[in-house]
Each structure stands twice: as C-alpha cells, then as structure tokens.
C-alpha cells in the first residue's frame, strides 16, 4: 500500500522461472515487461511500434533487419548495453540447442551480426512479416557477460535486465520482490512510479480476495466476472475491465482424424453446432465485461483479422433442421473436451443438448488435452488461444491451420494461403490471403469462433492504473492516487 510504497499482488500459479525464454506463462510475461526491454515497443493504446532499446530500424532486404541501438543504457548490474548484448541474446535464443521453451517466438531469427557498437543486423531464416511484433514483445535483451556466466539457472534466481524494475529477491515460484530501477532510460516507457512491487503466489482465488479484503493485497487481476461484479457492487474498490487478445473457439474434427465417419466431418453438422449455441447469451451471462461474440478465427485487434466472414446466428430450429439433413434427425452423442472455463463449457453443452447433441465432458489438464489433440483423438473441443499477446493473425491462424498437430481441418487450400501470407512482407498481400483463408474457415465452419476474452482488474482506492487490452499488467504504469 501507499504507506510503505509497495504494491502487493498475487499470482495464482507458481511461475517456473523468471527467465522469460524458459517459461511460457502469463505471469512470466508480466515480470518480463517490468525487468527487461525489447528492441522495439508497441504502444498498447495506439498499436504503433516505437523504438525501445533500438532507436531506428529498417529492412535491408526481406530477411535482414538493421537496428540502431540506444546509447547510454545500463543493465541493473551496471553492465553497459551495446551491440554485443543483442548479438549474444539473439544468437543464444535462435539456437535450437539451447531449448528455448516457446520456439515460435525465436525460431524465425537465424542470427544477429554486429555492425558497430551500436548497430546490429538480425538475419531471418525466411521472410517473416510479424517480426516487429515479436521484437516488441517476447524477444528481450539479456546482458551478454552476465548471462554467459550464470546461464538460465542464475538468471532465474537473480534476473538482470534494463527494465524499469530490478529484482531484489526471488523465492522461485513463491515470492518476488521488485524495486524501481534508478538508472532506467525512461523512453518510450515510463520510469517506475511505485517504489516496490511485492508478488506472492496464492493459489486459491478466495484466499486472494480474503487477503485483498484484509488489505494484504492492493491489486487483483484475472478476477472472474461474477466476483468482479460483486466487488464492484461493494463500492469500496476500483474495478476495471479490459479486452484481451485471447479468443475462445470450438474446434471440430473436420478431417476425420478422430473418427473418419464421425458427424464432425460433415459441414452440415458443424454448421448445426454453430447455430445451436447462443454465444451472445453466454457472453452476456457468464463472460461479461467487454467481451464480444467473434465470428472470425482470430482476435479483432490482430493484424489481417478479416471480419467480413460468414456468421451463424443462434437458431436452434435451423440447427435441428441441419442435423436432420445431415442424417442425424435424433442428434448424436460425442465427447466434448475442454481444459478451462468449465462453466462456459457447461453452458454450451446445455445448448447443444437442446438440439439433440449429447456431449460427455472430458475435462483435462492442458498438457493432457494437447497431447490427445496432437494424436488426433479429440473430435470436438472447446479451446482458447492467447496468441502470446501478439497482434498478428499469424499467431493464431498460423498455428492452427497449417497442417500441424493442432490442425483439425487439414484444408490444403487454407494451409497454402496462410503459408504464403506468412512468408511475405507485403502487408496488403497478407491481408488478402488471410481474408481468403478466414472466409473459407468460416464458410466450412471448421471452427466455431466463440468470443473474445476480457480481464477484470480490481484495485484498492489508493492505486491508479489504466489497464490495456492485451492481458498484460505493466507495473511501471502504476502509481498511487
């Protein structure tokens, strides 16, 4: 609280490591944005890319990006920042042998080359349109000498970056203390306003709320909609809602991997499913906040996310008719896999039940479900995808419709379009190709896109913070009222 200039908040899960290249969790992103800087920065409000550790950048050709680095920046341990750090970091993470957890974030880079002390070139494997987005997000710069010495294990326990906050103590998975970094360069992001950030892991959300009531926490994030409403109604707290890039969708086994003659291989059935679920009602009653029903297989704020696609309105009669036409006048029974938001899944099951589709919920841990999906054992599943907070359609479509393990459609045409789009830097061409792909996905009803997600933040009255719509909490934007 304000008295001791410490902002207290809680994580629900234990973060495996603070080293951003070796975790894939939202909590990790939160810490990373406070501790490190990327070369670029995307303004969360305008969506505009700005220089961060790089001040200028330009494409030499399709696969070479040259960046001018900011001078006078130092790491928390006093090490100066220069081209060596960038070259070291890029070459380290781009090397698959180093086992960076989220390969997609780094694998598009081949290597980096030093031009002079404050100029570097990043060489790509192939043209990669969303490169700027990645450089503004997950790819952050590490101090070369320090990292070479301590490696990921040392970085996890004593992280060193250039960001607005430096880490004063780490109890792995349990407790993190950050404190404002005096030497922060301060552009384009603000320097820290609040002196200390104290983060504990409290797995039970009720306990988090209890601690919030007790004044032991100043800030709650990812508050479920119902609780947020109640907390708002109490009138004692600030409740903020922000959109997230994450969308929910139902993926159906159109290619017949799970069951070659299964109902989901029939487009009529898939369309019946789309008509059967009253997405708007679920958004209104359960998801709430700023969420909206989505129709296209990506998040609205993502680049090249075509919105003009076929839409399926809630119409159970039509759904029944389609089922009858598809040869299932009495409906059918099918397993329905899910891994989060159980009430949403349950609500959808209720709607499906009305048109005669009996579902058996199989609720699994993500890893287990993903495993089952990659083996092609899942005919019908409720999924969500957060696109690593990347504002580019390739982050979601590229992962799910290019014939990979998670691709249930296996539509060669769509795969070709998306692959082509992802290997060109021509923005208009990309938009056109994605438009074709997304339209076909909607026409064929490979997916039923459901809704965008939103995040609720609850703050005590002393705290001032304006949430952004990318699910990222930026500690340096916090201040006391």
């Amino acid at each position: 609280d304000k008295a001791d200039d410490t902002l207290r908040l809680a994580f629900t899960k234990e973060l495996e490591t603070v080293d951003i290249y070796f975790n894939s969790a939202r909590e990790g992103i939160l810490l990373a944005r406070a501790i490190w800087d990327g070369l670029l920065y995307r303004d969360p409000v305008t969506g505009e890319y700005k220089g961060n550790l790089a001040t200028e950048w330009k494409w030499i050709d399709d696969v070479t990006l040259e960046l001018k680095l900011r001078e006078g920046v130092t790491f928390h341990n006093g090490e100066p920042f220069n081209a060596d750090d960038v070259v070291y970091t890029v070459n380290y993470v781009a090397n698959p042998d180093n086992g960076i957890v989220v390969q997609r974030n780094v694998s598009w880079m081949d290597r980096a080359e030093k031009v002079d002390d404050y100029t570097v070139r990043i060489i790509l494997d192939a043209p990669f349109p969303p490169a700027e987005e990645f450089l503004a997000g997950p790819v952050v710069m590490y101090p070369n000498e320090y990292y070479a010495e301590v490696g990921p294990a040392g970085m996890a326990l004593n992280p060193i970056g250039t960001g607005p906050y430096k880490v004063s103590s780490v109890d792995p998975g349990l407790h993190y203390e950050l404190e404002a970094f005096d030497g922060y360069h301060g552009d384009p992001r603000n320097a820290a306003s609040i002196g200390k950030i104290d983060i504990r892991t409290i797995p039970d959300f009720n306990t988090q709320i209890a601690e919030f009531f007790n004044g032991q926490l100043d800030f709650l994030w990812n508050v479920p909609a119902d609780q947020a409403e109640k907390l708002d109604a109490m009138g004692k707290y600030q409740v903020e809602n922000a959109e997230a890039i994450r969308i929910g969708f139902i993926s159906m086994d159109a290619s017949g991997r799970a069951d070659a003659d299964g109902p989901m291989t029939n487009p009529l059935v898939r369309k019946a499913v789309a008509h059967a679920i009253d997405r708007q009602a679920i958004v209104d009653a359960l998801v709430k906040g700023s969420s909206e029903v989505v129709h296209s297989a990506c998040a609205k704020i993502q680049f090249a996310c075509e919105q003009d696609v076929a839409q399926y309105e809630y119409n159970p009669e039509k759904a029944k008719a389609l089922l009858a036409e598809a040869g299932y006048p009495d409906g059918f029974e099918i397993d329905f896999h899910a891994y989060r938001n159980r009430p949403y899944a349950e609500a959808m099951m209720g709607f499906l039940d009305e048109v005669g589709i009996k579902t058996n919920l199989v609720y699994l841990k993500y890893s287990a479900l993903r495993d089952a999906r990659s083996k092609g054992e899942v005919p019908f599943t409720f999924q969500t995808w957060g696109s690593y907070s990347l504002a580019d359609a390739s982050a979601i479509v590229g992962e799910h419709f290019t014939g990979g393990m998670l691709d249930d459609a296996k539509d060669a045409e769509v795969t070709a379009w998306v692959n082509e789009a992802d290997s060109t830097t021509d923005k208009d061409k990309r938009i056109g190709l994605y438009s074709k792909a997304l339209k076909k996905i909607a026409d064929e009803a490979y997916w039923l896109p459901l809704w965008s997600y939103n995040v609720n933040y609850v703050m005590s009255q002393e705290v001032s913070y304006a949430p952004t719509n990318d699910e990222i909490v930026r500690f340096f934007d916090f201040s006391w009222k």
Binding site: N206, K230, A285
Partner: protein, 294 residues
C-alpha cells in the same frame, strides 16, 4: 432325564441386537437421515418439476426463498440458472452411488486380502502385509489425483480410483478380526469335521467378521463421499453437468465470499449425509459388539 430348561437368556442374539438398536439414538438418527437421503434420491423426479440439467442463463444465481429469492426456485438457482433443489435431489443419487460403489470395490479387495491373510497367516500374511504397507506408504491421494488429472474425471474413473484407494482399512481390520476368529475352536472343529476351505470362510469366518465389515463399509462410504468432494474441490471430481454434491460445492466455492449459500447448501447436505453414515457405523458397532464401546 432330558435337560429341557435349556436357557436363561430367552432371546436370540438377533432379537437382543434389535432391542439395543431401538435404544441407540445415534443409530436411529443416522438411519433416519440416510433413509431420507435415499428416498430423496429415489423419488427425485417426483420431488421437483425441474430438470437438474436444464439451464437458464437469464435466471442465474437466484438466492433461496429464505434469502429473498424467487419462489419458483425455493433453494435458488446456480451459476447456469439450474434449479438448485433439483440438482441437490438428483445429486443425492450421484453422491450415494459414489459412496456405495467405491466402498463395494474397496470392500471386495480389502476383505479378500484381509481374510486370506488372517486365515492362512505365514507367507500369505507376509505378502498381504507388504501390500498394505505399500498402499499406506504410497501417497495414493496424489497418485490418484495424477491419474484422474490425466484420464479425465468421469464418474467411473473417480469411483474406481476411490475404490482402489480405500481398501487398506478393510484389509487391516478384517485381517486381525479373521486372525482372532481363526484361533477360536469352532474353526478347528469345522476343519476336523471335514469342511472345505471356502465353506469355512463363508460359513464360519465371514459371518463372524461381518459386523466389522459393515462398520468399515459405512466409514469408507462416508470417506469416499468426502474424498470425492475434495477431488472436486481440486477440480478433479466427477464431470459437470452431473449434479454431484461435491461438484456443487466446488462450483459454489467460486462465490464463497459473496453468495455463500451456493456452497453452504450442498455443504450442509454433504455434512449431514456423512455425519449420518458415520453415526450409523458407530451405532452398528455399538449394537453388534456392545463391549466395543462400554
């Protein structure tokens, strides 16, 4: 001179037991509550016109009538607008099924092992004791959680896991009870009279360890029900939309600090059911083996 005045205790053991049972308050309380729950479970469709699965997103989380809710739903509605009373009534079926089937499975395993160990002793006993030790040394709750987490928590998985988890007490108690009975002379007499092994086990051993079996059965049944609730709490109980009380508690937990009735109603129901089963178990022990308590 035939000795006809054969008895000074004129009533049979069964009659004496019934007499003691009728005087045992705990047993009567337990039995009545159990009977009520069983009746509710059986006649659930007659007790409510609502379908426990039928959702209505427009009437979510209406409080019970007592807290000023909608008179159409006297116990209110849950987060998906399903009638809470209907879910509670149908949920009795699920909770009882879990308790009974899990206890039957573990009783079968535990009794078989326990009786064999107690009867044969020696090497068989050593093996069974080893198994019991393995079972006790294994943090099976964790292993079971892992299995449920990875296989998905269908009713069948949950019941089998619980069944495989709770047999140790049956084995331990029946082992020692059997040992005790085994050393009695009527077993030796039966052997000398040429009774076959299965016959001795069924006719002489089983009836005499039956009261232990029944008592443990009730305890483990209660245990299974409460463990299912704990699994549900960790998100690994039976799958929605099945209306199990454990699941209702776990769903209601979300709103614990705001709509506490959501967790209190199934919580109290569960509490009373488990309480009743335990009191029945205690009562049966008191009644069948009065020396056990006083």
């Amino acid at each position: 001179m035939t000795d006809t005045s054969s008895t000074n205790i004129p009533i049979s053991p069964r009659q004496a037991m019934i007499r003691r049972a009728l005087r045992h308050k705990g047993l009567i309380f337990g039995t009545v509550v159990m009977a009520v729950v069983i009746l509710i479970a059986i006649f659930a469709p007659l007790l409510t016109e609502y379908d426990p699965y039928k959702q209505n997103l427009l009437t979510r989380m209406k409080p019970p009538v007592l807290l000023g809710g909608d008179p159409d739903h006297w116990l209110g509605t849950d987060a998906l607008g399903r009638d809470y009373w209907a879910r509670l009534a149908y949920g009795a079926r699920v909770s009882l099924t879990i308790g009974i089937v899990a206890a039957v499975i573990s009783a079968t395993i535990g009794c078989t092992l326990g009786i064999l160990a107690g009867y044969f002793g020696g090497r068989v006993d050593a093996v069974v004791t080893f198994l019991i030790n393995v079972r006790l040394a294994m943090p099976v709750v964790l292993v079971a959680l892992a299995v449920v987490a990875l296989l998905g928590g269908s009713l069948i998985v949950v019941i089998s896991v619980l069944g495989l988890l709770l047999w140790d007490r049956f084995a331990v108690v029946l082992r020692s009870a059997t040992m005790q009975v085994r050393s009695l002379e009527y077993i030796a007499a039966a052997e000398v009279l040429g009774a076959s092994l299965p016959r001795i086990l069924v006719k002489d051993i089983l009836p005499n360890v039956m009261n232990h079996l029944i008592v443990i059965f009730t305890l483990e049944m209660a245990h299974a029900i409460i463990l299912e609730a704990a699994l549900s709490f960790l998100g690994l109980g039976v799958q929605p939309p099945t209306p199990s009380w454990g699941l209702m508690i776990s769903e209601g937990k979300e709103m614990l600090l705001f709509e506490s009735w959501l967790i209190t109603i199934p919580g109290v129901a569960l509490f009373f059911l488990v309480l009743a089963i335990n009191m029945m178990g205690d009562g049966i022990r008191d009644v069948t083996a009065p020396e056990g308590r006083n």
